[in-house]
């Protein structure tokens, strides 16, 4: 499933590295006690530190450090016991200090790896280069006044993790899979809520192309701040083709920052950022280095939740469900937990089917998350139980499920109340079978003459006559016996 772009003289391969900015889940900011909550009135979640008032000093938030370490462990990465905050110096209105406190030479997390299960069944390992902590910037609003830009510092100083991948990604699909996997891991860990629309997960993509088979790294362009997985994939697709066109025309690609425009599906050069930057990084003298003990890291490691990869393997091994289904169920921790509650002591494959097909259809249709599901895991579990012990048929179960979705209620009570119990009494079914055979001599003759497909028609007639309650398997067996 190699992704290649056809150029004039051959195929081109695309080389992608991602820088993901993930907002750390914490109550207060990285270096101040102001709130990180979204949606505050402008400049209300701002302390004197965040506004860089003279003499104000940063003090690091313990939980943010812990979250960064937890994330590093979740990415199978090396935790650097010694790390250093540095200042990245540049001027911008939403950067009150005139520098961003970040980590540069000594990040808190080093190399790691994220495993992707691709739809074609292949497995890709994407290297993580590093993870470091840094401050978010404030927000500049350019559309409030004809002559001025307004600045809101509510976001200024909120803790971010910058997660840098190696240039290991080779297609928009891999990028999509990587982002979804990363988001899944972060959400499992509880270190980032992964909400791209609110901006708590943002992605910059470094994209270059090279002739197929080559190992060189050509000039890359950085696409900034794209706010959905789909847009990142589209942006990369556009950008890769743009670069191939440039090479085909005999030109060279300029290293630059580009913006993705979701309305046109194109990337364009960001003129204002073209000026060469010289960030003058140096260790922040207001902060001492962070020195962690191995015990501290081990303690966090011991408390890590089961992560998607491990959970998927367990679902396959313990429940015997298909890898694809397991992948779907573990993507979100809540879904996995819901499934396990449904499957508890029951037919797990049946439970997986009901969650993935019936329940997801309902949720998608109504735009609900699993924790807002109109049917509880307990109720769905009971329903699965009723099918498994032949109390109702799968078809009746769908009717019951529809009632549960629309009106709520306990499946056992619904089945009881509406008299939907499956007819498993051989005598009762036999009576209906005999009646149908007697009433339809023509079809009987045709069947016996070799048209065996007609068995389905007979089953349908019996099911109709019993209001769908007859056990289909028994109907089938009786019909075959009596018609042969």
């Amino acid at each position: 499933m190699t992704y290649l772009i056809q150029g004039d003289d051959g195929d081109w391969e695309v080389v992608i590295g991602l820088e993901v900015h993930a907002q750390i889940v914490s109550n207060s900011k990285l270096f101040s006690g102001a709130s990180t909550a979204f949606g505050g009135a402008p400049n209300s979640h701002v302390s004197l530190v965040d506004a860089a008032m003279p003499g104000m000093l940063p003090v690091v938030n313990r939980v943010c450090v812990e979250q960064a370490v937890r994330t590093g462990l979740g990415l199978n990465a090396k935790i650097n016991l010694h790390s250093v905050f540095e200042r990245k110096n540049y001027f911008y209105p939403d950067l009150p200090f005139g520098y961003q406190i970040s980590q540069f030479q000594h990040p808190i997390v080093g190399e790691g790896v994220v495993t992707l299960d691709m739809p074609d069944g292949s497995v890709r390992e994407i290297g993580i280069e590093r993870l470091h902590m840094e401050q978010d910037a404030g927000k500049s609003m350019h559309d409030q006044d004809p002559k001025r830009t307004f600045v809101d510092l509510n976001r200024a100083g909120v803790a971010l993790m910058e997660i840098v991948s190696k240039p290991d990604l080779r297609s928009p699909e891999e990028v999509g899979a990587y982002l979804r996997k990363l988001r899944s891991i972060l959400r499992y860990l509880g270190t980032c809520d992964g909400n791209m629309e609110q901006g708590s997960l943002r992605c910059d993509a470094n994209v270059s192309v090279r002739p197929k088979g080559s190992t060189e790294l050509r000039t890359r362009c950085e696409i900034k701040n794209v706010n959905s997985v789909r847009f990142v994939m589209q942006a990369i697709e556009f950008e890769a083709e743009r670069q191939v066109d440039i090479y085909d025309a005999g030109d060279t690609v300029d290293q630059e920052t580009r913006l993705y425009d979701a309305t046109t599906g194109e990337t364009r050069s960001m003129r204002s950022k073209e000026e060469a930057h010289d960030y003058r990084y140096f260790p922040d003298p207001d902060l001492l280095p962070i020195d962690l003990s191995q015990e501290y890291v081990d303690k966090i490691r011991a408390a890590l939740p089961e992560l998607p990869d491990a959970k998927k393997l367990r679902f396959i091994d313990d429940y015997g469900i298909a890898p694809d289904d397991a992948g779907v169920l573990v993507a979100e921790q809540e879904t996995a937990a819901f499934f396990e509650a449904v499957a508890d002591g029951r037919d797990a494959k049946l439970a997986a089917n009901w969650v993935i097909h019936e329940l997801f259809a309902v949720l998608n249709k109504s735009g609900l998350d699993i924790d807002e599901s109109p049917v509880s895991a307990e109720s769905l579990g009971k329903l699965v139980g009723l099918i498994a012990d032949n109390t109702i048929s799968g078809r009746i179960a769908k009717d019951v499920f529809e009632i549960m979705v629309a009106e709520g209620g306990d499946p056992e009570a619904i089945v009881e109340e509406k008299g939907l119990k499956q007819i498993t009494d051989t005598g009762a079914i036999e009576g209906e079978v005999d009646k149908i055979i007697a009433e339809n001599p023509g079809q009987v003759e045709a069947y016996q003459g070799g048209n065996e497909k007609l068995i389905g028609w007979f089953v349908g007639q019996v099911m109709k006559a019993t209001g769908g309650k007859a056990n289909p398997k028994m109907v089938n067996e009786l019909l075959r016996k009596k018609l042969s």
Partner: protein, 95 residues
Amino acid sequence: MALDEATVRSIAKLARIRVADDDLPGLANELNNILGWIEQLNEVDTDGVEPLTVVGDAQTPMRQDVVNDGDIRDDVLANAPDAEPEFFTVPKVVE
């Protein structure tokens, strides 16, 4: 590593400090005197010496993750030269 006027101009740009053209030669001269004097450090062999950023051997203290600050917009905006009721302002930025 003598600084020419163009370099001084670009450093001033980096530091966002306007320097009048007339001031450039004098400023370049002053900075070169200082840098020339600083260069005596090259006499010292510092191979293998660890750099020192902060004195003391303590590690950075860490704050509890509690919201105990903010909600002081009036204080935050009190000294702003051209504030709107809720915002700081700057000349319009075109991206």
